[in-house]
């Protein structure tokens, strides 16, 4: 259990003395080192500050449920399609083990949660991806949940909001996994035909097949500061071209500069920005 805790929160360091006191790590007030500026921050302070370093505004990773609470009106979330599980239909070696480990690590059944919610009083359909579940890779379940979320939004004429994070399409599902890109794109073609609003929020890291399908097909694209966003991972690129990559390559700010996202928004401003966008779209269902 202790090992799990450590594995889950990679960036967190716990002081030796607290560990020695024999208390559960969760109960001990602790300081966390910012991976960017190395300053030590009390965890409680960090949580209050949207898990953003108060010194350098480094954005720590946030779990899906915590992110949900940062984004939507209190008690407004009603989860959809929560009873979908992945299965190893290709008999791919080690897939079941990866699924179990992902479940344990994330506390989720799959790499995305979807549901109805309201933001500043506006009703929306929302999806949030969780990288600690198999790098939030997109297999059949993620593809299906995204597609159903889109369909729920069409049916109710609600705006769609997706917080994306992903390592790409799920290799363990082979071509069926890759085809989820086509599936989510096809469903979104119907969504857009209905003149509904789709906002996507790129969080760290949004890459590969998810970026090259539903994530980038939004009307308005917001990125969290410092998030890695790209089609091919930086390691593969630098190996292929045998070159050092430019500073900030594939980070949100780089994408803004190159015209690939509309806004880079601090986590503390995310809720008010989305609220404003919904207001500007008159709730997003007046097409």
């Amino acid at each position: 259990m202790i090992r799990n805790t450590f594995g889950k929160k990679r960036y967190f360091s716990i002081s030796k003395s607290a560990e020695a006191a024999g208390k559960k790590p969760d109960e001990i007030p602790r300081k966390i080192a910012c991976p960017s500026c190395s300053s030590l921050i009390w965890e409680t302070e960090l949580v209050k500050n949207y898990r953003v370093c108060p010194k350098c505004t480094y954005h720590f990773p946030v779990g899906a449920w915590e992110r949900l609470n940062l984004l939507v009106d209190p008690n407004s979330f009603a989860e959809l399609d929560s009873d979908l599980y992945s299965c190893n239909f290709l008999d791919f070696p080690g897939y079941e083990e990866k699924l179990v480990a992902g479940e344990e690590k994330s506390g989720l059944r799959e790499a995305i949660i979807t549901g109805y919610a309201s933001i500043a009083g506006y009703k929306v359909v929302l999806g949030i991806m969780e990288p600690s579940f198999m790098m939030a890779s997109m297999g059949s379940v993620v593809g299906e949940k995204v597609s159903r979320a889109v369909e729920h939004a069409i049916k109710n004429r609600f705006p769609l909001i997706m917080c994306t994070a992903s390592g790409g399409a799920r290799m363990q599902e082979g071509m069926v996994g890759l085809m989820q890109m086509a599936k989510t794109s096809a469903v979104l073609s119907r969504f857009h035909r209905n003149s509904l609003l789709y906002i996507s929020i790129f969080t760290h890291p949004t890459t590969g097949g998810v970026l090259a399908s539903f994530a980038s097909l939004a009307d308005i694209i917001i990125a969290e500061p410092g998030a890695l966003v790209g089609f091919t991972g930086p390691r593969v690129i630098s190996q292929t071209i045998g070159q050092k990559l430019p500073e900030n390559f594939q980070r949100s700010e780089f994408l803004l500069e190159h015209g690939m996202v509309d806004l880079v928004v601090q986590r503390s401003q995310l809720h008010s920005t989305i609220a404003s966008l919904l207001r500007l779209h008159q709730g997003g269902n007046n097409g």
Partner: protein, 324 residues
Amino acid sequence: MVKRQFDYEKKYQELQEKVKELREMSKTFNIDLSGEIKSLEARMESLREEKYKNLSPWEKILLVRNPERPTSYDYIKFFCDEWIELHGDRLYGDDRAIIGGIGILEGQPLTIVGHQRGKDTKDNLLRNFGMPHPEGYRKVYRLLLQAEKFNRPVVTLVDTQGAYPGIGAEERGQAWSISQLLMTLAKIKVPVVSIVTGEGGSGGALALAVADRLLMLSNAVFSIASAEACASILWKDLQRVEEMAEAMKITAFDLHKLKIVDEIIEEPLGGAHKDFETTANNIKVSLKKALAELLSRDIDEILEERYNKFRNVGRFVENGSEKP
């Protein structure tokens, strides 16, 4: 040690040389070996046939990477009585790794687009080894809208190891250009037929493979990522690439079974490059059949069918039972 080259043909040629020697020997020494030689040759042929019927997924990957394998240009020239290539995305440049244009196949105008590998080193540098940049996908996007405007059916030829992983490609929005194509092909109001002729690698290949009918040459492969990438990412072991190629289910046969591919087009013995005419003709027959069938139907019905085909792809468990 992982096999890096498909060397069966070389071995076969060596055996043929041996038989030739034997024949000459029998002539010089005046011994009648014709019976033995004949049975030897028959055995060689049946072994060769057996070999090609049972190629492993990895052997297929190596086979389709053969530089002699026909490319999109070769097929287009064979299919079309008339063909004009069109260039550029009107935004940035002309990506030579993807070609596109208008052709006429037995009286039927078509918009044809395809990945284009090079024929030799020089050509490959020009074509970036058939690995497109965003401008390539945006050229296709432009040609798709054009096809829709003039009500021309679309044919795509899929043959790439993947979209190019480079700085410029990322700067100019590789992912955006691919997603735009996926969505456009899903809704375009003309029939789309896609043929996987060589290696279909990941999203960069899928961008051209969203179609009403997906046809695939019998030795072609189509995978979520290259077997090499998967082996190194998932297993951290490039030596197990053959095993990975097997596990990923990438052959035409496997993908037909998974209902991703609609039809397998047989290649001649030894692969497409051994007999281009037969290969191209087999494709042409299947293509004509698919187009005729689609063109005889109402486009709204086709669009509905296409939508459902992609909407329903995927396998999962819901409420305790497996779907679909």
